[in-house]
Symmetry: C2
Subunit: 489 residues, 2 copies
Amino acid sequence: MITINKSLSTPLHKQIFLRFKELIEKGTLKPGDRLPPTRVLAGTLGVNRTTVYLAYEELWSMGYIESRPGSYSFVRQRTGLAAESAVQRKSLLDWGKLCNPLLNELNERRIASRLKNFGKSCIDFVSLSPDPAILPAEAFRKAMNQVLKKDGRSLLQYGDPRGYQPLREYIADFMNRHSVKICSDEILITYGVQSALSLLLKTLVKPGDSIITESPTYLTAIPLFRLHGAKILTVPVIPSGMDLQALEALLQKNKVSLIYTMPDFQNPAGISTSQAHREYLLRICEKYKTPLVEDGFMEEIKYSPKVVMPVKSMDSGNTVVYLGTFSKFLFPGLRIGWIAADKELISRIATLVYYELLGGNILDQAALNRFCRDGQLEVHLKILHRIYRKRMQVALRSARRFCEGENISFTRPTGGYLLWMRINGTQHSEEKIISKILEKGTAVVPGSFAFADTPPFASFRISIGHCDEAQIEEGFRRIGQALDELKIK
Amino acid sequence: MITINKSLSTPLHKQIFLRFKELIEKGTLKPGDRLPPTRVLAGTLGVNRTTVYLAYEELWSMGYIESRPGSYSFVRQRTGLAAESAVQRKSLLDWGKLCNPLLNELNERRIASRLKNFGKSCIDFVSLSPDPAILPAEAFRKAMNQVLKKDGRSLLQYGDPRGYQPLREYIADFMNRHSVKICSDEILITYGVQSALSLLLKTLVKPGDSIITESPTYLTAIPLFRLHGAKILTVPVIPSGMDLQALEALLQKNKVSLIYTMPDFQNPAGISTSQAHREYLLRICEKYKTPLVEDGFMEEIKYSPKVVMPVKSMDSGNTVVYLGTFSKFLFPGLRIGWIAADKELISRIATLVYYELLGGNILDQAALNRFCRDGQLEVHLKILHRIYRKRMQVALRSARRFCEGENISFTRPTGGYLLWMRINGTQHSEEKIISKILEKGTAVVPGSFAFADTPPFASFRISIGHCDEAQIEEGFRRIGQALDELKIK
């Protein structure tokens, strides 16, 4: 039954393997059937015995045959093997019911929120990351290639759960830009801000405990808080930032595990708070001995000279847990962010990282470190600032031109690439407004996604991260058209 | 007060910036002091006005000055800034008390378990990863360089939370090696097995719910289960594998969210179960409608032809959740593993990944995909099998030679690089035995770490992952010496 062809380029042992495989799969050879001894088959075929042995070894390792004491090989009993392909199989368990029910609901929302089904001609005011076209991928390739050449083997090993030490040192120095004086022991590298928030919840918040967020807040954080079982208390965002009187009132009545805030270019409201507001906020947290989680996701995209320093820069009592990320000004896919906080807290989070993830990817961290230390980050930030300063000017000019109206208000950010548009006094639902805008060819994020409770008005978030100046202008023109047709202006 | 020196190589604007910075930090210029208008200072210094403007802009962005309506610049009020360095600061909050108390306890254990304070001359029987010396780092560098050159920009963007599609397809094909027939929709890429376990807990296990593990089991999983608040029920590992009668008895009395097993080269016991055992285990899970989590961490390091296929290969009803990883045969630092399971479950986990992590690192996944598809994985696995088959022979020969004794038993694995040594009938504590071995210059992992409850005997785990043949022989010689001195043999 076994034939070989010595003139083919396929190695002889592979030919023997493939032929046996075929015979077994067709059922010509049945479970329990004995294969000829290697010596015998080698003689019959006129090949070296090793050739036959190699073929048998491959059959073994693929589970087609088994060997029994005394060295004969038999076709393996494969009863019970899932014969059908994945498509035909039917599940015995009701997986939908076994899973956390919240994941069902969130699944729907995740898909909706990403709106990735919009077409090519649609303007993307959704993506919250920097324009891929301006990212220095080539410089990063060189940095990656360099570290792999120099230390590839050791960088591909398990590393410190707190992250790659030289990058932690770089980040500590980097934060000095914003007058934050910390050392590398106070830094832990994470897979971005999302992972940092998740680690903080597990470290500081028991399920059922209360946390305070701004309202509106970072839309992807709300489901994370819910999944963790945290009770979300909200403080309204007013034009000056988080309403500090409302915050203090909440703290007087509730035990709260942490307060989550975004002082710069708040997502989605686009508001930056004043120095005085930050100082007062910190005093409140110190008074109530409550950790303040400061999300500095847009810290590096301050392109106006009127800069206010992070709350962390005033934090002489280690009350602030600062979250930073490279995703909003460099490569989002690299998944590198950091937590800057009290050393004791960092050491607890490192333990958690060890048990949740074993650690981060040290290679990526080393490549990023090389990229930064070669001065590439400085070069890139200058370009980024110039581009987004200009784009934001275009956005604000276009918003004024196309979307002016007494029922429409929008923020005027001095950094970042987010705008928030709020619609007052309309009988149309937010969903209706968003669909009308989408119909005109522009995708925006529903503002209601950013509220943990019922939103008090219709709104939507505009990100100009992925759009050039022409697209920005056109996007606002389309929004203006949609609002016109709904008679909102 | 401001002077410049045109003959220096430092740019003029930088000189102006540095001088102002110094004056402000020294306190010569005080908060609220007005800076000269750019025009005036430019005239005085005899420089271009832009030069002064650049200096002021840097002062602004560093938080030294602020500008007020009407364009004058003032030294910024920096009250409240954390003047002291990190070392001198004192925390206002008691972070130790605010953190999950379990993290304190685990922190101690994590450090102890890694035993990384052992010296250079100490033999490392601890590290559970492949020998860095045999890893194909250069081939990986080439693959990484290639994908960065071709698609760097898009690979550095956010990606599908389920992972890089071509790698998911590769993994689905790869599992066919072990007769597992699945499609890429049933695959989700994770940051290794640890991250996969953590995601599964959050998807399938509510805090307080019961899960079943083998006893002993994967030592790093136990704290993860505890941190999640799962109640751990244990089934003893007997020579044939998990005791299936004990398992069924537990399932009759308890509602269990999942069963966690390692059928191949169990960690730490080193046992591989038979085909019949696997079939029976699967039937039990199907009968009690309980998900079976099969950890195939050593699946690819089967170097004996007597191979038994994973339980997942028989799983015609999608009851098995299979965990795979590249960490134990390729690069542990890459942090890439996967979950193969029912599509509906995978889609729930993808939602969770989105909210916990936003997603994985697509670049690393693409580089690994390139590496594998270029045939490098096949080449590497062949080398790895040859090396570890030989090393395990040396280990078993050395164990017989140096550690034979009626109170000592050890497993005889046919794959992987783990051995487990069990000591019966001694008055010495496990801790004492481990210290004595360490004193002789060999580090092993305490067996008790692998028990969720009180260990019934003293034992320790030996990993030959990082040792060459000479080190393996010497390591066992030292263990033998230690056991001799304790009169255990």
